[in-house]
Symmetry: C2
Subunit: 192 residues, 2 copies
Protein backbone atom coordinates (compact mmCIF):
# COMPACT_ATOMS: atom_id res chain seq x y z
CA UNK A 1 0.00 0.00 0.00
CA UNK A 2 2.37 2.68 -1.21
CA UNK A 3 1.12 6.18 -0.67
CA UNK A 4 -0.32 7.64 -3.81
CA UNK A 5 -0.13 11.16 -2.46
CA UNK A 6 -3.55 12.31 -3.53
CA UNK A 7 -4.86 15.82 -3.03
CA UNK A 8 -8.42 17.07 -3.33
CA UNK A 9 -7.45 18.83 -6.54
CA UNK A 10 -6.17 15.62 -8.04
CA UNK A 11 -9.36 13.85 -7.09
CA UNK A 12 -11.27 16.53 -8.97
CA UNK A 13 -8.91 16.06 -11.92
CA UNK A 14 -9.75 12.38 -12.05
CA UNK A 15 -13.45 13.18 -11.71
CA UNK A 16 -13.28 15.57 -14.66
CA UNK A 17 -11.42 13.04 -16.80
CA UNK A 18 -14.09 10.50 -16.01
CA UNK A 19 -16.90 12.91 -16.82
CA UNK A 20 -15.26 13.90 -20.10
CA UNK A 21 -14.92 10.26 -21.08
CA UNK A 22 -18.20 8.79 -19.96
CA UNK A 23 -20.57 11.57 -18.94
CA UNK A 24 -21.61 12.87 -15.57
CA UNK A 25 -23.74 9.82 -14.86
CA UNK A 26 -20.51 7.85 -14.67
CA UNK A 27 -19.11 10.03 -11.91
CA UNK A 28 -18.95 7.52 -9.08
CA UNK A 29 -16.57 7.30 -6.18
CA UNK A 30 -15.72 3.74 -7.16
CA UNK A 31 -14.69 4.79 -10.66
CA UNK A 32 -12.68 7.76 -9.40
CA UNK A 33 -10.96 5.52 -6.89
CA UNK A 34 -9.99 3.05 -9.61
CA UNK A 35 -8.53 5.84 -11.71
CA UNK A 36 -6.63 7.19 -8.73
CA UNK A 37 -5.31 3.71 -7.91
CA UNK A 38 -6.92 3.70 -4.51
CA UNK A 39 -9.75 1.95 -2.67
CA UNK A 40 -13.07 3.76 -2.60
CA UNK A 41 -13.18 4.65 1.08
CA UNK A 42 -9.75 6.23 0.85
CA UNK A 43 -11.27 9.08 -1.13
CA UNK A 44 -13.05 10.22 2.01
CA UNK A 45 -9.68 11.29 3.36
CA UNK A 46 -9.54 13.96 0.68
CA UNK A 47 -13.17 14.65 -0.06
CA UNK A 48 -14.81 14.18 3.28
CA UNK A 49 -18.29 14.96 2.02
CA UNK A 50 -18.27 12.00 -0.31
CA UNK A 51 -19.95 12.05 -3.69
CA UNK A 52 -21.99 15.16 -2.95
CA UNK A 53 -18.93 17.21 -2.16
CA UNK A 54 -17.10 15.85 -5.17
CA UNK A 55 -19.93 17.01 -7.43
CA UNK A 56 -19.79 20.38 -5.76
CA UNK A 57 -16.05 20.65 -6.33
CA UNK A 58 -16.49 19.67 -9.94
CA UNK A 59 -19.10 22.40 -10.42
CA UNK A 60 -16.79 24.97 -8.85
CA UNK A 61 -13.92 23.96 -11.08
CA UNK A 62 -16.02 24.05 -14.22
CA UNK A 63 -17.48 27.43 -13.34
CA UNK A 64 -13.98 28.77 -12.77
CA UNK A 65 -12.78 27.42 -16.11
CA UNK A 66 -15.74 28.97 -17.84
CA UNK A 67 -15.23 32.31 -16.14
CA UNK A 68 -11.59 32.23 -17.24
CA UNK A 69 -12.57 31.63 -20.82
CA UNK A 70 -15.09 34.45 -20.82
CA UNK A 71 -12.61 36.83 -19.24
CA UNK A 72 -10.00 35.96 -21.85
CA UNK A 73 -12.48 36.51 -24.64
CA UNK A 74 -13.55 39.90 -23.33
CA UNK A 75 -10.13 41.41 -22.88
CA UNK A 76 -9.34 44.13 -25.38
CA UNK A 77 -12.86 44.22 -26.82
CA UNK A 78 -15.92 46.34 -26.19
CA UNK A 79 -19.52 46.70 -27.26
CA UNK A 80 -21.01 44.24 -29.70
CA UNK A 81 -17.58 42.84 -30.37
CA UNK A 82 -17.12 41.96 -26.70
CA UNK A 83 -20.58 40.47 -26.27
CA UNK A 84 -20.15 38.41 -29.38
CA UNK A 85 -16.76 37.15 -28.25
CA UNK A 86 -18.05 36.25 -24.81
CA UNK A 87 -20.98 34.29 -26.21
CA UNK A 88 -18.74 32.47 -28.66
CA UNK A 89 -16.30 31.63 -25.90
CA UNK A 90 -19.15 30.35 -23.76
CA UNK A 91 -20.44 28.11 -26.51
CA UNK A 92 -16.94 26.98 -27.45
CA UNK A 93 -16.27 25.82 -23.91
CA UNK A 94 -19.56 23.95 -23.77
CA UNK A 95 -18.89 22.33 -27.13
CA UNK A 96 -15.36 21.32 -26.15
CA UNK A 97 -16.45 19.77 -22.87
CA UNK A 98 -20.10 18.88 -23.23
CA UNK A 99 -20.22 16.38 -20.40
CA UNK A 100 -18.36 18.70 -18.12
CA UNK A 101 -20.79 21.50 -18.89
CA UNK A 102 -23.74 19.20 -18.39
CA UNK A 103 -22.36 18.28 -14.96
CA UNK A 104 -22.74 21.88 -13.82
CA UNK A 105 -26.35 21.69 -12.64
CA UNK A 106 -25.68 18.45 -10.76
CA UNK A 107 -24.21 20.33 -7.83
CA UNK A 108 -26.22 20.30 -4.58
CA UNK A 109 -27.18 23.68 -3.21
CA UNK A 110 -24.82 26.57 -4.00
CA UNK A 111 -22.05 27.06 -1.48
CA UNK A 112 -19.60 29.87 -0.95
CA UNK A 113 -16.97 28.67 -3.37
CA UNK A 114 -19.47 28.14 -6.12
CA UNK A 115 -21.01 31.52 -5.47
CA UNK A 116 -17.60 33.11 -5.66
CA UNK A 117 -16.85 31.49 -9.01
CA UNK A 118 -20.27 32.40 -10.38
CA UNK A 119 -19.85 35.96 -9.18
CA UNK A 120 -16.65 36.25 -11.15
CA UNK A 121 -18.40 34.93 -14.24
CA UNK A 122 -21.22 37.43 -13.82
CA UNK A 123 -18.65 40.14 -13.25
CA UNK A 124 -17.19 39.59 -16.69
CA UNK A 125 -20.60 39.94 -18.26
CA UNK A 126 -21.53 43.02 -16.27
CA UNK A 127 -18.23 44.62 -17.24
CA UNK A 128 -18.95 44.04 -20.91
CA UNK A 129 -22.40 45.57 -20.50
CA UNK A 130 -20.94 48.86 -19.38
CA UNK A 131 -20.20 49.48 -23.05
CA UNK A 132 -23.96 49.81 -23.53
CA UNK A 133 -24.42 52.31 -20.77
CA UNK A 134 -25.90 49.66 -18.53
CA UNK A 135 -25.17 49.59 -14.85
CA UNK A 136 -26.93 49.06 -11.55
CA UNK A 137 -30.05 46.94 -11.57
CA UNK A 138 -30.53 47.16 -15.31
CA UNK A 139 -27.08 45.70 -15.81
CA UNK A 140 -28.11 42.79 -13.60
CA UNK A 141 -31.26 42.18 -15.60
CA UNK A 142 -29.26 42.35 -18.79
CA UNK A 143 -26.59 40.02 -17.47
CA UNK A 144 -29.27 37.52 -16.53
CA UNK A 145 -30.62 37.74 -20.04
CA UNK A 146 -27.16 37.10 -21.43
CA UNK A 147 -26.68 34.11 -19.19
CA UNK A 148 -30.10 32.74 -20.05
CA UNK A 149 -29.35 32.87 -23.74
CA UNK A 150 -25.86 31.44 -23.42
CA UNK A 151 -26.83 28.70 -21.03
CA UNK A 152 -30.03 27.84 -22.83
CA UNK A 153 -28.33 27.46 -26.18
CA UNK A 154 -25.42 25.48 -24.74
CA UNK A 155 -27.67 23.26 -22.71
CA UNK A 156 -30.06 22.54 -25.56
CA UNK A 157 -27.34 21.85 -28.10
CA UNK A 158 -25.57 19.50 -25.73
CA UNK A 159 -28.84 17.78 -24.93
CA UNK A 160 -29.46 17.18 -28.60
CA UNK A 161 -32.63 19.25 -28.60
CA UNK A 162 -31.91 20.81 -31.98
CA UNK A 163 -32.43 17.96 -34.37
CA UNK A 164 -33.32 19.72 -37.58
CA UNK A 165 -30.82 20.16 -40.37
CA UNK A 166 -30.33 23.92 -40.01
CA UNK A 167 -26.80 24.94 -39.18
CA UNK A 168 -26.21 25.55 -35.49
CA UNK A 169 -23.55 28.15 -36.15
CA UNK A 170 -26.06 30.23 -38.07
CA UNK A 171 -28.51 29.92 -35.21
CA UNK A 172 -25.82 31.11 -32.85
CA UNK A 173 -25.03 34.09 -35.06
CA UNK A 174 -28.70 35.10 -35.17
CA UNK A 175 -28.97 34.67 -31.45
CA UNK A 176 -26.00 36.95 -30.86
CA UNK A 177 -27.43 39.58 -33.16
CA UNK A 178 -30.74 39.41 -31.34
CA UNK A 179 -28.93 39.92 -28.08
CA UNK A 180 -26.80 42.86 -29.19
CA UNK A 181 -29.80 44.52 -30.77
CA UNK A 182 -31.71 44.10 -27.55
CA UNK A 183 -28.86 45.54 -25.53
CA UNK A 184 -28.71 48.63 -27.74
CA UNK A 185 -32.39 49.32 -27.25
CA UNK A 186 -32.51 48.20 -23.63
CA UNK A 187 -35.61 49.56 -21.84
CA UNK A 188 -34.84 52.32 -19.40
CA UNK A 189 -31.71 53.27 -21.26
CA UNK A 190 -31.55 56.73 -22.79
CA UNK A 191 -30.97 55.92 -26.42
CA UNK A 192 -28.68 58.36 -28.22
Amino acid sequence: MPRVGLTPDQVVDHALALIDDQGSEALTLAAVATRAGVATPSLYKHVSGGLGELRRLVAVRVTEELADRLAEAAVGRSGDDAVSAVLRAYQAYAAEHPHRYAALPQAPQPDDDLTRAATRLVGVIVAVLRGYGLDGSEAIHAARTVRSLAHGFASLTIGGAFQLAEDLTTTHDRLITTLTTGLHTWPGTAEA
Copy 2:
Protein backbone atom coordinates in the same frame (compact mmCIF):
# COMPACT_ATOMS: atom_id res chain seq x y z
CA MET B 1 -51.67 -10.04 -3.47
CA PRO B 2 -54.73 -8.28 -4.75
CA ARG B 3 -54.24 -6.96 -8.21
CA VAL B 4 -53.55 -3.24 -8.24
CA GLY B 5 -54.26 -2.88 -11.93
CA LEU B 6 -51.34 -0.64 -12.80
CA THR B 7 -50.79 0.83 -16.23
CA PRO B 8 -47.65 2.48 -17.60
CA ASP B 9 -49.43 5.83 -17.41
CA GLN B 10 -50.20 5.35 -13.75
CA VAL B 11 -46.59 4.44 -13.08
CA VAL B 12 -45.59 7.73 -14.69
CA ASP B 13 -48.18 9.52 -12.54
CA HIS B 14 -46.57 8.15 -9.42
CA ALA B 15 -43.14 9.05 -10.73
CA LEU B 16 -44.23 12.64 -11.32
CA ALA B 17 -45.76 12.91 -7.87
CA LEU B 18 -42.52 11.68 -6.40
CA ILE B 19 -40.44 14.10 -8.43
CA ASP B 20 -42.70 17.02 -7.47
CA ASP B 21 -42.34 16.12 -3.81
CA GLN B 22 -38.70 15.25 -3.52
CA GLY B 23 -36.89 16.16 -6.70
CA SER B 24 -35.70 14.09 -9.62
CA GLU B 25 -32.87 12.59 -7.60
CA ALA B 26 -35.52 10.79 -5.58
CA LEU B 27 -36.98 9.07 -8.62
CA THR B 28 -36.22 5.47 -7.81
CA LEU B 29 -38.06 2.33 -8.76
CA ALA B 30 -38.25 1.35 -5.11
CA ALA B 31 -39.99 4.59 -4.17
CA VAL B 32 -42.38 4.42 -7.11
CA ALA B 33 -43.23 0.83 -6.20
CA THR B 34 -44.01 1.83 -2.63
CA ARG B 35 -46.31 4.60 -3.84
CA ALA B 36 -48.02 2.22 -6.22
CA GLY B 37 -48.44 -0.38 -3.49
CA VAL B 38 -46.43 -2.98 -5.32
CA ALA B 39 -43.08 -4.74 -5.02
CA THR B 40 -40.24 -3.19 -6.99
CA PRO B 41 -39.78 -5.93 -9.59
CA SER B 42 -43.47 -5.79 -10.47
CA LEU B 43 -42.88 -2.44 -12.15
CA TYR B 44 -41.01 -4.21 -14.91
CA LYS B 45 -44.31 -5.66 -16.07
CA HIS B 46 -45.37 -2.16 -17.05
CA VAL B 47 -42.09 -0.37 -17.69
CA SER B 48 -39.96 -3.09 -19.14
CA GLY B 49 -36.96 -0.87 -19.66
CA GLY B 50 -36.63 -0.21 -15.95
CA LEU B 51 -35.48 3.09 -14.55
CA GLY B 52 -34.10 4.34 -17.84
CA GLU B 53 -37.40 3.93 -19.60
CA LEU B 54 -39.28 5.47 -16.71
CA ARG B 55 -37.12 8.58 -16.96
CA ARG B 56 -37.78 8.66 -20.66
CA LEU B 57 -41.53 8.41 -20.14
CA VAL B 58 -41.38 11.18 -17.58
CA ALA B 59 -39.57 13.43 -20.04
CA VAL B 60 -42.15 12.71 -22.71
CA ARG B 61 -45.01 13.49 -20.37
CA VAL B 62 -43.46 16.73 -19.19
CA THR B 63 -42.70 17.84 -22.72
CA GLU B 64 -46.31 17.14 -23.69
CA GLU B 65 -47.62 19.10 -20.73
CA LEU B 66 -45.36 22.00 -21.61
CA ALA B 67 -46.40 21.94 -25.26
CA ASP B 68 -50.04 21.99 -24.15
CA ARG B 69 -49.46 25.02 -22.01
CA LEU B 70 -47.68 26.89 -24.78
CA ALA B 71 -50.41 26.04 -27.27
CA GLU B 72 -53.09 27.27 -24.87
CA ALA B 73 -51.21 30.50 -24.32
CA ALA B 74 -50.78 31.16 -28.02
CA VAL B 75 -54.35 30.64 -29.09
CA GLY B 76 -56.09 33.86 -30.13
CA ARG B 77 -52.93 35.95 -29.97
CA SER B 78 -50.37 37.07 -32.49
CA GLY B 79 -47.16 39.00 -32.79
CA ASP B 80 -45.49 40.34 -29.67
CA ASP B 81 -48.55 39.47 -27.68
CA ALA B 82 -48.28 35.82 -28.65
CA VAL B 83 -44.54 35.59 -28.06
CA SER B 84 -44.92 37.23 -24.69
CA ALA B 85 -47.74 34.89 -23.70
CA VAL B 86 -45.78 31.84 -24.78
CA LEU B 87 -42.73 32.83 -22.80
CA ARG B 88 -44.79 33.59 -19.73
CA ALA B 89 -46.57 30.27 -20.03
CA TYR B 90 -43.23 28.51 -20.36
CA GLN B 91 -41.86 30.16 -17.27
CA ALA B 92 -45.09 29.65 -15.34
CA TYR B 93 -44.97 25.92 -15.99
CA ALA B 94 -41.35 25.70 -14.90
CA ALA B 95 -42.10 27.71 -11.77
CA GLU B 96 -45.12 25.59 -10.88
CA HIS B 97 -43.28 22.32 -11.33
CA PRO B 98 -39.60 23.09 -10.88
CA HIS B 99 -38.51 19.54 -10.11
CA ARG B 100 -40.53 18.19 -12.98
CA TYR B 101 -38.94 20.69 -15.34
CA ALA B 102 -35.49 19.90 -14.02
CA ALA B 103 -36.13 16.22 -14.70
CA LEU B 104 -36.44 16.94 -18.42
CA PRO B 105 -32.76 16.69 -19.31
CA GLN B 106 -32.39 13.44 -17.34
CA ALA B 107 -33.82 11.42 -20.22
CA PRO B 108 -31.42 9.08 -22.00
CA GLN B 109 -31.09 9.63 -25.75
CA PRO B 110 -34.10 11.10 -27.53
CA ASP B 111 -36.54 8.53 -28.82
CA ASP B 112 -39.47 8.78 -31.19
CA ASP B 113 -42.09 9.71 -28.60
CA LEU B 114 -39.94 12.44 -27.14
CA THR B 115 -39.14 13.76 -30.57
CA ARG B 116 -42.83 13.83 -31.40
CA ALA B 117 -43.64 15.80 -28.26
CA ALA B 118 -40.77 18.19 -28.83
CA THR B 119 -41.83 18.67 -32.42
CA ARG B 120 -45.25 19.75 -31.28
CA LEU B 121 -43.69 22.22 -28.86
CA VAL B 122 -41.51 23.64 -31.60
CA GLY B 123 -44.53 23.79 -33.88
CA VAL B 124 -46.29 26.14 -31.52
CA ILE B 125 -43.30 28.46 -31.51
CA VAL B 126 -42.85 28.36 -35.26
CA ALA B 127 -46.53 29.15 -35.71
CA VAL B 128 -46.20 32.20 -33.52
CA LEU B 129 -43.18 33.35 -35.51
CA ARG B 130 -45.20 33.53 -38.70
CA GLY B 131 -46.55 36.78 -37.33
CA TYR B 132 -43.07 38.22 -37.88
CA GLY B 133 -42.84 37.07 -41.47
CA LEU B 134 -40.49 34.29 -40.47
CA ASP B 135 -40.68 30.92 -42.12
CA GLY B 136 -38.40 28.26 -43.54
CA SER B 137 -34.90 28.05 -42.12
CA GLU B 138 -35.00 31.48 -40.54
CA ALA B 139 -38.06 30.44 -38.54
CA ILE B 140 -36.10 27.46 -37.26
CA HIS B 141 -33.19 29.65 -36.21
CA ALA B 142 -35.61 32.02 -34.51
CA ALA B 143 -37.45 29.19 -32.79
CA ARG B 144 -34.15 27.88 -31.47
CA THR B 145 -33.40 31.33 -30.13
CA VAL B 146 -36.78 31.43 -28.41
CA ARG B 147 -36.24 28.04 -26.86
CA SER B 148 -32.74 28.95 -25.73
CA LEU B 149 -34.02 32.02 -23.93
CA ALA B 150 -36.99 30.28 -22.38
CA HIS B 151 -35.09 27.20 -21.31
CA GLY B 152 -32.05 29.11 -20.13
CA PHE B 153 -34.07 31.42 -17.94
CA ALA B 154 -36.20 28.61 -16.54
CA SER B 155 -33.24 26.38 -15.93
CA LEU B 156 -31.16 29.07 -14.24
CA THR B 157 -33.98 30.31 -12.03
CA ILE B 158 -34.81 26.78 -10.92
CA GLY B 159 -31.16 26.09 -10.29
CA GLY B 160 -30.92 29.13 -8.06
CA ALA B 161 -28.34 30.79 -10.27
CA PHE B 162 -29.85 34.25 -9.86
CA GLN B 163 -29.02 35.13 -6.32
CA LEU B 164 -29.03 38.91 -6.38
CA ALA B 165 -31.93 40.92 -5.07
CA GLU B 166 -33.21 42.19 -8.41
CA ASP B 167 -36.75 41.13 -9.20
CA LEU B 168 -36.94 38.09 -11.44
CA THR B 169 -40.20 39.22 -12.99
CA THR B 170 -38.52 42.38 -14.20
CA THR B 171 -35.71 40.35 -15.69
CA HIS B 172 -38.25 38.23 -17.47
CA ASP B 173 -40.00 41.32 -18.86
CA ARG B 174 -36.72 42.71 -20.17
CA LEU B 175 -35.85 39.37 -21.66
CA ILE B 176 -39.15 39.19 -23.51
CA THR B 177 -38.70 42.71 -24.84
CA THR B 178 -35.23 41.82 -26.04
CA LEU B 179 -36.64 38.83 -27.83
CA THR B 180 -39.52 40.61 -29.53
CA THR B 181 -37.23 43.44 -30.59
CA GLY B 182 -34.85 40.91 -32.08
CA LEU B 183 -37.66 39.15 -33.91
CA HIS B 184 -38.82 42.42 -35.46
CA THR B 185 -35.37 43.17 -36.82
CA TRP B 186 -34.50 39.58 -37.63
CA PRO B 187 -31.61 39.37 -40.14
CA GLY B 188 -32.68 38.37 -43.62
CA THR B 189 -36.17 39.65 -43.06
CA ALA B 190 -37.39 42.47 -45.25
CA GLU B 191 -38.33 45.07 -42.65
CA ALA B 192 -41.41 47.05 -43.56
